[in-house]
Each structure stands twice: as structure tokens, then as C-alpha cells.
């Protein structure tokens, strides 16, 4: 094929794609530079690839379900997640931009950032027991019974916990407990957090932070070979 014909061919097939992307928000661009209308770069706090800054409770976003992330941005914007930093940012993002940036982070797979402070083995072990079995004397199921046995997350509602910042998990559980986060479907986490002691919160947060990242995928309907 002569070069000029090839060029025309490439131009022809690529034109509609460019036409589409020209109108769609660019999630990677917003993550790196902000949207220029009040939303700063996400990467400043969440890391260039969404790996987070676990020591200062800036959560890992990479690999979380995109619909979950959109729901959180919406919650920050409408106030059911009360957060001084995130509320104005979420409000500054259009629905298209929220979707684009959520998809960008959902597809990102940076390595885990290890926290500088490591919990002791005993704390992690008690967190593991709570995460895997629960504390039924208080009517508490194991976290893994909804978030997946390896903390890998399930579907768009139950986010991955494995490898998440301990400080972040702890703050979220306390936010539910204190009524500062109310966007949990059926108020499941409001009920769960109300039954957790501070020690249990610290232990379960340390346990999930200690886990390796799990492979994430959207929940799938049960097939014939589970």
C-alpha cells in the first residue's frame, strides 16, 4: 500500500474516534492536572497513578470499581460524605469528568505503597479474626463476607479493602460511627461501625492495610463454574 493511500486510510478510520474523544473528558488529564475550573490534580494527594498516600490517609484509588468511585464523588458533592477537602473538588467536576476520572483510576494498577508505620502482629491477627469471622457476640459478620474473602471487593457496592491505607479505613469507620458519612447503601456500614470498638477498628484497618493487593474485577453473575 503506497504511503499516501495509507495516510488517507488511517485518517479515515481515525476521524470518528477523534471526534468522540474530543468531546469526552480525559480522566488521565484531570488526574494529572485538574480540570482548570476549580478541581486540582487528583495526583497531588492520591499519587500519580492513584496509589494513594497511605500515611496521611489519602486512599488508594487505583483498581477500585469505577461505579463505586463515581458514587463517592457524587456523595462528596451532595454532602453524604462530609469531607472538607473532597467536597469542593467533587462539586467542581462535571458528571462527565467524574466518570472519566473514575474510569482512569479503576483501570490503573500501580504497586502498593507500604505504610511507614506497621502494626504489630498481634493487632493484625486480631484484625484478621474479625475480618474473616466477625464478632457475632455483637452481631458483627466478618468484613470479608461482603468485601470478599481476600478483601478484593465485590461489585460496585463493596470496595476492595486489601492494601488500602489503615489510617483511611480507620477514619472511614469512625466517620460512619459519627454520622459524617451516610452514603452507605441500606446503611450497612453505619450499623457495622456502631458495633465496633476503637480497638476493633484499629485492628481491622491494620489487617487490611497489611494485605497484598487483590486482583480487582467487577462482580460477575455466578456462572456454572464458580
Amino acid at each position: 500500500m503506497p504511503p499516501n493511500v495509507l495516510c488517507i486510510f488511517v485518517l479515515l478510520i481515525s476521524t470518528p474516534i477523534h471526534a468522540v474523544t474530543a468531546y469526552a473528558a480525559d480522566g488521565g488529564q484531570i488526574a494529572a492536572n485538574g480540570n482548570g475550573r476549580g478541581a486540582p490534580a487528583c495526583s497531588a494527594c492520591h499519587g500519580a497513578h492513584g496509589e494513594g498516600q497511605p500515611d496521611v490517609a489519602n486512599p488508594r484509588l487505583a483498581g477500585l470499581d469505577s461505579e463505586y468511585l463515581i458514587a463517592q464523588l457524587n456523595a462528596f458533592a451532595e454532602g453524604s460524605r462530609d469531607n472538607e477537602a473532597m467536597s469542593p473538588i467533587a462539586k467542581a467536576l462535571t458528571p462527565d469528568e467524574r466518570q472519566a476520572v473514575a474510569k482512569f483510576y479503576a483501570g490503573s494498577v500501580p504497586p502498593k505503597i507500604e505504610e511507614s508505620h506497621k502494626a504489630d502482629d498481634k493487632t493484625i491477627a486480631s484484625g484478621a479474626a474479625l475480618a474473616n469471622r466477625g464478632d457475632w457476640s455483637k452481631g458483627l459478620p466478618g468484613c470479608g463476607q461482603c468485601h470478599g474473602p481476600a478483601g478484593q471487593g465485590v461489585g460496585k457496592t463493596f470496595p476492595a479493602l486489601a492494601g488500602q491505607s489503615a489510617e483511611y479505613i480507620m477514619r472511614q469507620l469512625k466517620a460512619w460511627k459519627d454520622g459524617k458519612r451516610t452514603n452507605d447503601p441500606l446503611h450497612l456500614m453505619t450499623g457495622i461501625s456502631s458495633k465496633l470498638s476503637d480497638d476493633q477498628i484499629a485492628a481491622v484497618a491494620a489487617y487490611y492495610a497489611s494485605l497484598p493487593l487483590a486482583v480487582r474485577a467487577a462482580a460477575k453473575p455466578l456462572g456454572s463454574t464458580p
Binding site: N74, G134, C146, P149, L186, A217, A219, T225, P226
Partner: protein, 324 residues
């Protein structure tokens, strides 16, 4: 180019509509005298152990499992119970785990605890019209609730499960009808409302079990929320296919972590909705749905053989047992 703007209200409405909730299981009625299709009789509301925790027997903790051969069997039993798919796969024909219906791995009162069942056998069961040993009762779980096949009485899986149940029952009185046994018996409903059950399902159950009742699994394929009907759920011979059992389980334990929050009417109606869906055939099926209903499902609390939305339930059931 499609309009891609996610609308906040639509999303929230979607979540609220999908609703959540828990499992639903499929455990055979703990009462040995009940058929899976037990006659609908008005019963007083049973005391619920979650509301009266002091009334329930407390099984020994894992730290009391001895470090010897018997302890090994107990630990294996607990593993099978918690992860039946991973540890007793050859006897399982669906996506369920024992612990889906027997919460806290068979420890929780009002969620068919093993310790209460263990001390209740041998016993006559009208379901099969003879005296059943505990082993036979366990085999029934595999055959019906797990839609699988029964392990032989001396199989390692059976030995482990019986050891685990025995361990949990340590200190319980043999022959006692312990508080917290089985599922609570709710007062008989004036009627069952399928449409209302469907609404309750959408609002409180679908979030976890899926709008289509087929459950949800994690990326690695591990089933997190069990399917409530369809080919990967319990079959028509399971105790949970009785609306009476399902309503009791749901009332005490669902939505997961929010037991005792539904009204009795909600529990009955959502149970009737769940048990009005198609599921694997009753292993006792003799070729005729009508005849099988007459023999094993003759109760208004059992939808097998009844017509729902123009279809006779049981008529299009997937075959019973593990499928290749």
C-alpha cells in the same frame, strides 16, 4: 455517540431500589418432624436468640479445640463448614456454603446452629418417614441444600462434620430442644403477597444477591453472596424451599448484619417471592410434578407444582444434583 452523563438521582435511586441484603439459605428444617413441605400451621413467634442472647447455649470457642487427632477432625469440619466449595467439592452441586444458612459457621442461634441439631438426633422425620441418625441428616443437607450427592457415612467429610458438630455441642443437654434451634417460627401470615415480596426483595436483598437472585462473586470466582434461586442454588427438596423456614431465617438474619429489622409481613412476602422462583429439581422427582408435589410438597407454604406467573414451578427445573 451515546449520552454518558451519570445522573446522581438516577444512581441513588438505583442503589436504593436495588436494595440489599443478605443471604438466604437453604437449610433443611431443623425440626425432624417437619416435611420440607410442612403444613402451614399458625405458631407463636419464637423467642429470638439475637434478642435474648442469654437464653442461647454458648458453644465452645476455637481455642478449646484439642491439639490431637480429634482436634484435627474438628478443624477440618469447621473448614468444610465455612468453605464447602473448597473442602467438600465432590459432594456439592451448587454455589452455596454450609455457612450461608448456618451463620457464624454453625454457631449462631436462630441460624440453625449445629450444636442444637447435634443433640436432637436420632429422631423420626416425616420427610422420609423413618428414624434418622445425625449422619443421615447431614447427608440430606448435601443432597438437597447443596444440590449435591451424599457422602458415605464413613467418608472423611462426614467424620469431620460430625466431629465439629459434636465439639460445638459440648455441654449441651442431649435430647433438649435448645432455644435458638433452627429458625424462629413466625406467626402465620394472613396471606402471602408475591408483589410485595418482590418490592421487598428489590429494596433490601438485590444489592447483595443481585436483582436476578443469582448472587455475586468476586473476581477470583469465589462466591460472596449466594444465589437464592436458579441452577446454582438449593434444590426443590431443600428445607429453605419451604416458605415457613425461609421466612424464619430471613426474619432473624437478613439483611445481613440487620437481622430482626424486617416486619413479619416483609419476611413472609419476600420468602414467598424467593420460593416462587425456579430452582433445581427435587431429587425425589418421579417424573410427574403433580405427583411429586402430592408426595413431598403438599402445603400452601410450598410453591413446588404451583402456578406462578403462568408457569408451573418444577416443570422447567434444571436437573437435580451436580451437573457435568
Amino acid at each position: 455517540m451515546s449520552e454518558r452523563r451519570p445522573d446522581l438521582r438516577t444512581w441513588i435511586a438505583g442503589v436504593v431500589f436495588l436494595g440489599l441484603a443478605g443471604f438466604i439459605g437453604y437449610k433443611l428444617p431443623s425440626s425432624d418432624t417437619s416435611k420440607s413441605a410442612e403444613p402451614a400451621i399458625a405458631r407463636p413467634v419464637a423467642s429470638n436468640a439475637a434478642e435474648n442472647p442469654t437464653s442461647a447455649f454458648v458453644p465452645p470457642g476455637d481455642d478449646k479445640i484439642p491439639n490431637n487427632e480429634f482436634g484435627d477432625a474438628v478443624r477440618l469440619g469447621e473448614k468444610i463448614f465455612h468453605d464447602t466449595q473448597g473442602n467438600a467439592r465432590e459432594f456439592v452441586g451448587n454455589s452455596l456454603q454450609c455457612a450461608n444458612c448456618h451463620l457464624d459457621s454453625g454457631r449462631l442461634a436462630s441460624a440453625a446452629p449445629l450444636w442444637a441439631a447435634y443433640v436432637a438426633y436420632p429422631a423420626y422425620r416425616s420427610k422420609n418417614e423413618h428414624v434418622n441418625t445425625f449422619e443421615e441428616r447431614l447427608q440430606g443437607c448435601f443432597l438437597y441444600s447443596m444440590n449435591g450427592k451424599a457422602p458415605a457415612a464413613n467418608d472423611k467429610v462426614m467424620v469431620a462434620l460430625e466431629s465439629y458438630a459434636y465439639f460445638l455441642a459440648k455441654g449441651a443437654v442431649i435430647g433438649a430442644d435448645l432455644p435458638g434451634r433452627g429458625y424462629p417460627k413466625l406467626a402465620h401470615p394472613a396471606k402471602l403477597d408475591y408483589a410485595h415480596g418482590q418490592q421487598v426483595y428489590a429494596a433490601k436483598c438485590g444489592l447483595c444477591h443481585g436483582a436476578d437472585g443469582q448472587g455475586q462473586s468476586a473476581a477470583d470466582g469465589s462466591v460472596v453472596f449466594p444465589p437464592l434461586w436458579g441452577p446454582r442454588s438449593f434444590n426443590w427438596g431443600a428445607g429453605m424451599s419451604s416458605i415457613t423456614n425461609a421466612a424464619g431465617f430471613i426474619s432473624a438474619n437478613m439483611p445481613f448484619s440487620q437481622g430482626n429489622t424486617l416486619t413479619d409481613t416483609e419476611a413472609w412476602d419476600v420468602a414467598s417471592y424467593m420460593d416462587s422462583q425456579e430452582r433445581p429439581q427435587d431429587p425425589r422427582f418421579d417424573g410427574s410434578v403433580a405427583e411429586t408435589r402430592k408426595l413431598h410438597h403438599d402445603s400452601p407454604m410450598d410453591m413446588y407444582g404451583q402456578t406462578v406467573n403462568g408457569v408451573v414451578l418444577g416443570q422447567n427445573s434444571p436437573a437435580a444434583g451436580p451437573q457435568p
